[in-house]
């Protein structure tokens, strides 16, 4: 799983049925220091995260089938948690309040 920050929301009408009724967001992977760690990806929200929040991004192939309880889910990236804080070597390096 990866650390990420929610940077945007996506509206889509024409989409695969597995995405119906689910919130789509643009999330940017970040390093533990809060800096960007690559281009943003599209993710399906599972926890009710909002723009600017630090989140846990993840999803193994097939994980969405288990999470959403549907038979077929061509969904790879999901927001699985909202991060409160990250500790590295005894030091808090990232807090929810750090997000802009």
């Amino acid at each position: 799983m990866k650390l990420a920050r929610v940077v945007g929301n996506i509206v889509s009408t024409l989409k695969h049925p597995a995405y119906e009724g689910r919130k789509l967001m643009l999330v940017e992977p970040i390093a533990p220091d809060g800096k960007s760690a690559g281009p943003a990806t599209v993710a399906v929200d599972y926890v009710g995260a909002g723009e600017g929040e630090l989140v846990l991004l993840g999803g193994a192939p097939g994980a969405a089938r288990v999470v959403f309880g549907i038979k077929l889910a061509p969904i790879k990236d999901m927001v699985m948690g909202i991060i409160d804080e990250v500790e590295l070597n005894g030091e808090i390096v990232l807090r929810a309040t750090d997000s802009p």
Binding site: L14, L26, P39, A40, T41, V42, P61, L72, A73, K76
Partner: protein, 94 residues
């Protein structure tokens, strides 16, 4: 899943039978500022409803191979939606 813009199409008369009736698109991946990154790739457009210039999102890897029940296809990138609008804190609604 990634954002991408459709920059072209690809036709193949001879293809795996599971691709019958489907179109292939040439996609350029986009970042959060809608700037291109990485190299273009080929993705399956399973519903044939994507046109050039549109912004789409696609799924890669094992999840791209089975998007309908009882229909597996040897695809590693499949378009799963068309973006109507995208709002980011930097650029606002667009």
């Amino acid at each position: 899943m990634n954002l991408a813009t459709v920059i072209g199409s690809l036709w193949a008369t001879q293809k795996h039978h599971s691709f019958t009736g489907m179109k292939f698109c040439v996609l350029q991946p986009l970042d959060q500022n809608r700037q291109p990154f990485g190299k273009p790739l080929i993705a399956v457009d399973p519903d044939n409803n994507v046109g050039r210039g549109e912004t789409v999102f696609y799924v890669e890897g094992g999840d791209a191979a089975e998007i309908w029940e009882n229909h597996s296809m040897p695809s590693d990138a499949t378009i799963v939606g068309i973006v109507d609008s995208l709002s980011t804190d930097k650029k606002g609604e667009s």
